[in-house]
């Protein structure tokens, strides 16, 4: 049931409200949760980088194997070598953070450039980019990543460059489609008639005003995607290598003890993955609704 309430203010008042007051509760919840996740990830990254951990993440304690949560001194328990799970979870962010950002930045910048070339220049640029995108799309991504690992070395940065490049076609397609749609619009013609230079029209009126929500969504989805890829690879044993912790290889190493009743060492990182990916996705969704200025149902 929908309820419509007249606010106790003039209409002028609503337009003057700050952005967040105009948003709907659900969006604010999404964004709030997403931002919490982002802050936690950022804090964990810094904590890991500076070594502010409750325990040494590599310290083996043979006396305390597979300890349950809330064991004194180990808030989340220990893994099969008696290493502190909380410290390893926090340190595990190191595997994603910079590589994830790298892949997202690569995908957004490269995708936008290709999208503008294909959509604005058109002609053989369009043909070439569509062809390359199809070529890239027809190749299973995981196989490509494994090929690169085999050719170079199992380094997370190599993997993330591949993820970034393989994400470009999706973004390029979205941007090119948007541009192809927008250039039919008379406001682009009007912008030319106003005397705005071409690059202002592309950067400001097309990419900034009309594609920013799309790019924000793609960035948050890309971050979630990067985490998922790394997790899958680590689970297969190709990602970050033991003893350096990543959530993927923690799930893998914990899985051996899962059926013996010690489900915690693999469930904790799995839940962390779930919460983080959900956070990025909801953040994108909420921002989309807020930035677009109107809800599309």
């Amino acid at each position: 049931m929908a309820r419509y309430v007249q606010a106790h203010m003039t209409v002028a008042g609503i337009a003057e409200l700050p952005l967040f007051r105009r948003a709907e509760t659900l969006d604010l919840l999404y964004i709030g949760y997403g931002l919490t996740v982002v802050v936690l990830v950022l804090a964990s990254y810094l904590a890991g980088a500076f070594g502010w951990l409750p325990h040494d993440a590599q310290a083996i304690n043979v006396a305390l194997l597979n300890a349950p949560p809330f064991t004194p001194g180990h808030a989340l328990g220990t893994d099969f070598l008696g290493r502190d799970l909380l410290s390893r979870l926090v340190l595990g962010i190191q595997a994603y953070f910079l590589p994830g950002l790298l892949s997202v930045a690569l995908a957004i910048v490269g995708g936008s450039v290709l999208g503008v070339l294909a959509g604005w220049r058109g002609g053989w640029w369009d043909t070439l980019i569509t062809y390359l995108a199809n070529l890239l799309d027809s190749f299973p991504r995981l196989v490509l990543i494994l090929l690169v690992i085999a050719a170079f070395k199992p380094d997370i940065y190599y993997v993330m460059v591949v993820v970034g490049i393989t994400s470009m076609p999706v973004i390029a397609n979205l941007v090119a489609g948007k541009i192809a749609f927008l250039r039919q619009k008379s406001f682009i013609e009007a912008a030319h008639a106003l005397g705005l230079p071409g690059h202002t029209v592309i950067l400001k009126h097309i990419l900034w005003f009309n594609c920013r929500a799309l790019l924000v969504i793609q960035a948050t989805l890309g971050m979630a995607e990067a985490i998922l890829i790394e997790t899958s690879l680590s689970y297969l044993g190709f990602g970050v290598q033991e003893p350096t912790p990543s959530w993927g290889n923690m799930v893998l190493s914990g899985a051996n003890y899962f059926l013996q009743g010690n489900f915690w060492p693999s469930t904790a990182p799995a839940l962390a993955i779930l919460a983080t990916i959900l956070g990025f996705q909801l953040l994108g969704d909420g921002l989309n609704n807020l930035l677009e200025g109107k809800r599309r149902r």
Partner: protein, 357 residues
């Protein structure tokens, strides 16, 4: 002294499907004197809009403007473009055009730098589509003002924008400043477009069907506004419309276009008189329902036949097939030769064999 002079302009497009030129504008000459409003009327597809877009250097189709002269003030807006276009002509008809698109575009941008938006401003039909849907009208107005006027600072540009919103009679401009186009009515969007166009204080305003796509009552209000702004600023206007009542209310002089050519031009009162000189003008005027037609519910007088397609424009008078004044005395000439645009009174020209004799 004319501000804008268009001489013998030809703007063609190429239809790949038919492998032929669409002769949208075929030898049009127009002149707009400083301070006057020239109304251009004609059916859809008569080349009105393409003429205006050619003058603003906004033709994107190919081959586009291929011939003619457009003088704006002391500038030649087609200067040097002939170097990028090679035309093959046979028997007075253009058979092939070779065009260096990239050089042509670059030259147009060079010629139009500082003219488009600054000296020649445009307002379009369907104003809601002509505003960026994702930016507030304030942002767009401020952008235009900062681009073209001495108000470069953010706050002074905003003050100026509010001033212009007020001048185009928008209620509570401060509130509307932060509205998006989708939150505003079509008439209000058109007012914003007019504010954007005039804020640069251009010397020529091209209004391309400014009332099309608006409700009838709003149309009247917009025409009223344009008339008021015209008398306040004295801006030279090229008004394009298929709505004769709009042109009658705003224009000092009128040019009637048909199938890519001007068939009659002259002072508004003389051209749009009940017993018009050119048969096409007369037919256009007759097709507008007057109070009497509406009261008696008699049928509207449509013009028989259709606009000839400009690919296979007839050799003779373009209106020949639809003309109801043709007599046996001139029939032969009408069918085989295009009548010249002959002066029948000072400043009043018409393209008809009946008058040319």
């Amino acid at each position: 002294m004319s501000l804008l002079t268009i001489e013998n302009l030809r703007t063609y497009f190429y239809s790949r499907a038919k492998r032929a030129f669409v002769r949208s504008v075929d030898g049009v000459s127009l002149a707009v004197a400083r301070g006057e409003t020239l109304g251009v009327v004609g059916e859809s597809g008569s080349g009105k809009t393409v003429t205006a877009l050619s003058a603003a250097g906004l033709i994107t189709g190919s081959p586009g403007v291929i011939e003619g002269r457009i003088h704006f003030g002391s500038r030649n807006l087609l200067d040097g473009l002939e170097r990028h276009v090679q035309v093959e002509e046979r028997d007075g008809r253009i058979m092939a055009v070779e065009k260096d698109e990239r050089g042509w575009r670059r030259q147009v941008d060079k010629l139009m730098a500082g003219v488009r938006g600054k000296e020649i401003a445009m307002i379009f039909q369907n104003p809601r589509a002509a505003l960026n849907p994702y930016a507030t009208v304030g942002t767009q107005l401020v952008e235009a003002i900062r681009l073209h006027t001495r108000f470069k600072g953010k706050s002074e540009a905003k003050e100026r924008a509010l001033h212009w919103l007020e001048r185009v009679r928008i209620d509570s401009p401060r509130l509307r400043f932060d509205s998006h186009p989708f939150g505003m009515s079509g008439g209000m969007c058109q007012r914003v477009m007019i504010a954007m166009a005039l804020s640069a204080e251009p010397s020529l305003l091209i209004a391309d069907e400014p009332t099309t796509g608006l409700d009838a009552t709003i149309q009247s209000r917009i025409v009223e506004l344009l008339g008021e702004l015209k008398s306040e600023t004295g801006i030279t206007t090229l008004l394009i419309s298929h709505d004769i009542s709009v042109v009658r209310r705003l224009a000092d002089r009128v040019a009637v276009m048909y199938a890519g050519t001007v068939v009659e031009s002259g002072p508004a009162a003389r051209v749009l008189q009940p017993n018009a000189n050119h048969p096409y003008t007369a037919a256009l005027l007759a097709s507008v329902p007057d109070a009497e037609t509406i009261r008696t519910k008699s049928a509207l007088q449509a013009i028989e036949g259709e606009v000839p397609d400009t690919i296979n424009a007839p050799l003779g008078c373009r209106f020949y097939g639809r003309c109801n004044r043709v007599t046996d005395a001139v029939r032969e000439r009408c069918a085989h030769a295009q009548p010249p645009l002959a002066e029948i009174a000072p400043g009043h020209k018409t393209r008809c064999w009946l008058k040319a004799a």
